[in-house]
Structures are given as C-alpha cells and as structure tokens.
Amino acid sequence: MSGITQSTALWYASRATGVVSLLLLTGVTLLGVLVNRQGRLPGLPRFVVTGLHRNLSLLAVAFVAIHVLTAVLDPYVTIGLVAIVIPFASPYKPLWLGLGAISLDLVLALILTSLARARLNRRFWRGLHWFAYLAWGSATAHSLTSSTDMHSGVLLYLVIACIAAVAGAVIWRITQAGREVPREERAAATLDMMSPRSVRAPARRGPRENIH
C-alpha cells in the first residue's frame, strides 16, 4: 500500500469517521435506553445521563456528516449527492449505501424533533424516538456490508461488541420494565430512602383514608 495521497486521504477519512460514527451511535443508543429506564451512571449525577445522551447524539451527527461528505467527494467511487439522503440511489453498492442513507434520514429526523421537542406533542416525539433502534440497526448493517475493513480483525470484533452491547441493553430494558415502581409510589419511595433521621414517608400499605 502506498502512503496517503490526496485521493486516498478522503477515503481514509471516510472510513475512520464511519467507525467513530458507529461507536458514537452505539453509545447514544445505550444512553438512550438508560435515560428511558431512568438509570444512572456510577458516580455521576442523574442529569448527566440525559446530557450525555443529547450531546453525544449531536457529536455523532458531526462525524456522520464528515463520513458522508468525504465518501461523496472521494473521486474513487461515484456515489452522488442525491444518494446521501435518498436510499438506494447510489450507482456504487446501492443496497449497502442505501442502508446508510436510511440511517442518516432517521438520525436527522430524531435530532430535529428532539431539538424542537418543547413545541411538539410529547406522544408524537416518543413514537418517533422508537425509530432510534432502526437507525442504529441500519447503520450497523451498513457498516458490516459496505465496509471492506469490518469483515475481519479488530474492526469485526468492534462491530460484534457494539451489537452485543445494544442487544444486552434491549434485554435489560425489557426485564426492567417489569420491575418498575408505579409512578404513584415513586415520590414516597424516594422520600423513604432519604434522611431516615427526620423524614418518613407514610407506611405505603397503610389504611387509605380520604381527606375532607
């Protein structure tokens, strides 16, 4: 292999940012599951999980943008600007690049609706956020199929690790959903945990009485 020339620079940049994008999207997906289950990261305040989820997703968009632009600008293969957002429109590997385009479209939709979340119907936003799994899945499939590097060696192990992590998170989410504290009891449960010296929430299974 000869050194990095002007034409191979774009190719290397695209491959590298592609790998980083996959790692970031995997991280965002894992944090998203954690946000959803209101879990926390060891040693960090609760809001950090949400903050990290949001900020990493914006960072992922930046890397995906470089990944896509360098791939399109690279003269070695012809992809075309249209194929960035329209799936299966690329003359080069239409099916495999199409998966990437689907992922990009979904990621953009998720980012834009999240930025405008305060103005949107919460149910609509939540419904759309389910597509995050599809976005991650098509990005991973796109990595495995269109990349020539990921079929063996360290990068293959990396993709397998990403898939295992997200699969594990999904299983964890499903098992956690069954062990949820009912929302009516959450505040009392938190108060129970706090400062036993001076505050006690009422006995949770005590006789119920109405005021007035």
Binding site: P182, E184, A187, M194, S198, I211
Partner: protein, 438 residues
C-alpha cells in the same frame, strides 16, 4: 379539614374586609340565606343574559380586563377567543377542584352561590359555541348533592342551553391542573401531561376545551349583566375587579372574603408584632416578611417584584411564636408526596429537597443541607410537565430567605417554637396508589 366547619354556612356570618366600597360583595351575598336558591338568585339577577351569538361576549370581557381567578391570572378573553376559533365543537368545564389545602374560596363560592357559577358556565359555553359543559370538583357529598339539585332545577326551568355534567376530582394537589382535569374527565388519572397540545386545542374527548376556575365564571356572569365599567369600578386599572381570598390570621381564624384587587394587605391580615411573615399565593407561592407585606397591596404589581403573586388568593399570617422553617418543611414534604411521579426531576428532586428541609428544621442541622437544597432547586426548576416543581422551588427558596434567622438559631440548637406546633393546614393523607389519583 372538613367541609362544614371551614366554609361559611347558614347561621355563620360572612366576613367582609374593611374598606371595601362599590357594591361589594359581588359574588357572596352579604345577607340572606345561603346557599342562594334559584328563586332568590333569579329575583336578584334575573335570567342569564344570553348574547344570542357566539363570540359576542369576548370583547366585553376584554374591555372588563377579567383575568383567571384560579391562580394564573391569564386574560379570560384570550382563552375564550382561542377556543372559539376552533373548527371542532369545544367543551367548557368549570374548575372547582381547588387542590390547595389552604384555599377554601371555590368550595365556599360553589356552596353559597351555585347559580352564579352555573350562569357563567352557560354564558361561557355560548360565547365559544359549545353545548357541552361540565363542573369539576372534589368529592364533598353535601356540595355535590346541592349542585346536582341546582342543575336539575335549572334544567326543569329551561334556563340552560348547554347540558351540564358533574365530574369528581380526587383529593390530589395536582388534580385541578388543566391537563390533569382533562385526563380525569376523559376517565384517566388526574395527572398533568406534557403540553403541547394545549388543553384549549385538544382536551376533553379530543375536543378543544375551555377550562375556567369557578370564580372566574361567576365574575363572567356578572360582567355579562352589568358590563365592563361596572366591573372596573373595583380594583386597580391594571388588575380590575374583586376576588375571593382565603385568609389565615395569626390567631388561627380562617375566613373566605371578597375584596378588591389593590386592597392593602394590612387591612386583610392583622400584621402587627404577632405576625412574623405572610404566605402569599398558597403552597406554590412565596413567603414575605410581615414588615414588607404591610407595605404591599393585594396585586401582582406589588407582589411579583417580591417574588410572590396573588394566585388564587391564599394569604396566611404566620404567628411570631411559630417556626417558619418547620412549617416550610411540613409543606415541602406534602408537595413532594403529591408529585405525580411522572417527571424525574420532580419525583427525585422534591423528596430530596423535602428531606433537606426537614434536616434544616431539626436541631443542629447538617450545614450542607442548605447548599444541597439550593443546588437541587436549580436542577428541578422548569423541568416538569406541569409547574409543580417550579412552585415547590419558589415556596422553599422564599422560606430559606425569609426565615434565615431561624436557620441560624437551629444551627445553635435553638428554635422559636421547640414544640413545633403545626399552623398551616395540610391533609393527613397523600397518594398511596393509583386508585388515589382517580
């Protein structure tokens, strides 16, 4: 807190605030039997003055400058105009579920002048072109019975154009919040939801829903009869009219009074040396040092710069020999337990703040409690589906500020009231299960 003893009823005179002129009281009759029955009501005020066309009342209300009396003081005409614009037929609900434990005014109004509220409900329904109306209130057997009878009597007399249904609210602090109301009327739990869509866009049965406090509707019924100038004869230019207030005097007396906006607070509460602080706006409101309150009037113009507001007219004078921090800790605990448990910052943050408040209220508290509290306050504010965390933070912050000398005393192991006698009214049970929310 029982209905019969706290609300004025036959045989108990209604209190009138000093210095009220201009034909006050307007909503609660000064004399005569209560509840005001239909015959007496019609004899005094006649039939509800239907405008004959949707929308006609809206500019009249704008000229009157009537604002919502449920606490938010939002201009009434703007809410009506937004709902009237909708293409689907709207629903109108009178909100009598005052969930504030320290407020008695909506219950009193519904008890004493039910027909004035029901007139307002009809006129509001006509103004937005609706034929479906409802009344939403807590489960008080006597009050519900009385209102069912009043509605039946009006139906028999052919007075009402929109059908009126009564919906019962659970005894939850948040049950009166607009989106909680819509959820409850739709058969769900009385829990707030995220907005948008706003309730006036999509509320009961997916239809645009106009929700007004029952006192607002009573004022509306009178403005429709006597006009904007009559309404503006009371109150200030910026905040016209009168309002109902629940007063908690330092000597333990409790009264519901009707007073003009702009009335000096010192003519409503006894603010002498026996009062150390005043709570304005209820448990989502703020504390004021008694000396500051004595210079203010009942108006948002005076109260807002001090971090408080008129709200739903709850004013409480805390006696000098009670511990303000202990009171604030009791209320903070109540507010934490009344979280709907839907938003993380609220159901994680408020119990922590309540625990820290209890720590500060105890002898020789951990000095970190105050700094923890200030940090948490910043983290929960503005991060809920409703304003519950914001209101709780406002209440707690003002207590930390106004009772800072008491905090110092606690640090030295002393307290103004070692017996910790409770002063502010709080219900003795909070939500324990899903059944308590519906």
């Amino acid at each position: 807190m029982t209905f019969g003893t706290t609300v004025p009823h036959p045989g108990q005179p209604l209190t009138q605030p000093g210095g009220a002129g201009d034909g006050l009281p307007r909503l609660l009759p000064a004399r005569g039997a209560v509840p005001v029955d239909l015959r007496t009501h019609l004899g005094r005020l006649g039939q509800p003055p239907y405008a004959g066309q949707a929308g006609r009342l809206i500019p009249v209300l704008q000229a009157a400058g009537l604002t919502g009396r449920g606490g938010a003081a939002f201009p009434v005409h703007r809410k009506l105009a937004a709902v009237a614009k909708a293409r689907t037929q709207p629903v109108v609900i009178g909100n009598g579920a005052e969930s504030e434990p320290a407020s008695e005014k909506d219950k009193s109004l519904l008890w004493i002048s039910p027909h004035l509220v029901l007139d307002g409900l009809q006129l509001a329904a006509e103004a937005v072109g609706s034929d479906a109306a409802g009344l939403y209130l807590h489960r008080h057997p006597r009050l519900l019975e009385n209102l069912h009878a009043a509605i039946a009597e009006r139906a028999a007399a052919g007075m009402d154009r929109a059908g009126v249904e009564i919906f019962e609210a659970p005894h939850r602090f948040l049950a009166g919040e607009e989106s909680a109301l819509a959820s409850r009327v739709n058969g769900g739990p009385a829990m707030p939801r995220f907005k948008p869509p706003m309730v006036f866009e999509r509320g009961v049965a997916g239809r645009p829903t106009l929700v007004h406090n029952v006192e607002t509707l009573a004022h509306l019924a009178l403005i429709a009869r006597f006009g904007p100038d009559w309404f503006r004869a009371a109150g200030t230019d910026a905040e016209p009219g009168s309002m109902l207030c629940t007063l908690h005097q330092a000597d333990g007396r409790r009264d519901v009074v009707e007073t003009e906006l702009g009335t000096p607070l010192r003519s409503l509460l006894t603010l002498d040396g026996h009062t150390q602080a005043v709570l304005s706006g209820g448990y989502h409101g703020a504390w004021l040092p008694a000396a500051d309150a004595a210079r203010m009037t009942l108006s948002n113009a005076d109260l807002r710069p001090a971090g408080a507001f008129v709200g739903a007219g709850v004013l409480a004078a805390l006696p000098a020999d009670r511990c303000g921090i202990a009171e604030a800790a009791r209320v903070a605990r109540y507010l934490a337990l009344e979280s709907a448990g839907q938003c993380g910052p609220c159901f994680n943050g408020l119990p922590r703040m309540a625990a820290a408040m209890a720590e500060i209220a105890s002898p020789r508290p951990d000095p970190r409690a105050v700094t923890d509290m200030i940090r948490w306050a910043g983290l929960v504010q503005g991060r809920g589906a409703c304003h519950h965390p914001d209101g709780a933070v406002r209440f707690i912050r003002s207590a930390l500020h106004v009772f800072r000398d008491e905090i110092t005393r606690h640090g030295q192991g002393r307290c103004v009231d070692p017996a910790r006698r409770p002063f502010l009214p709080l219900p003795d049970s909070t939500a324990l299960s899903a059944a308590d929310w519906s």
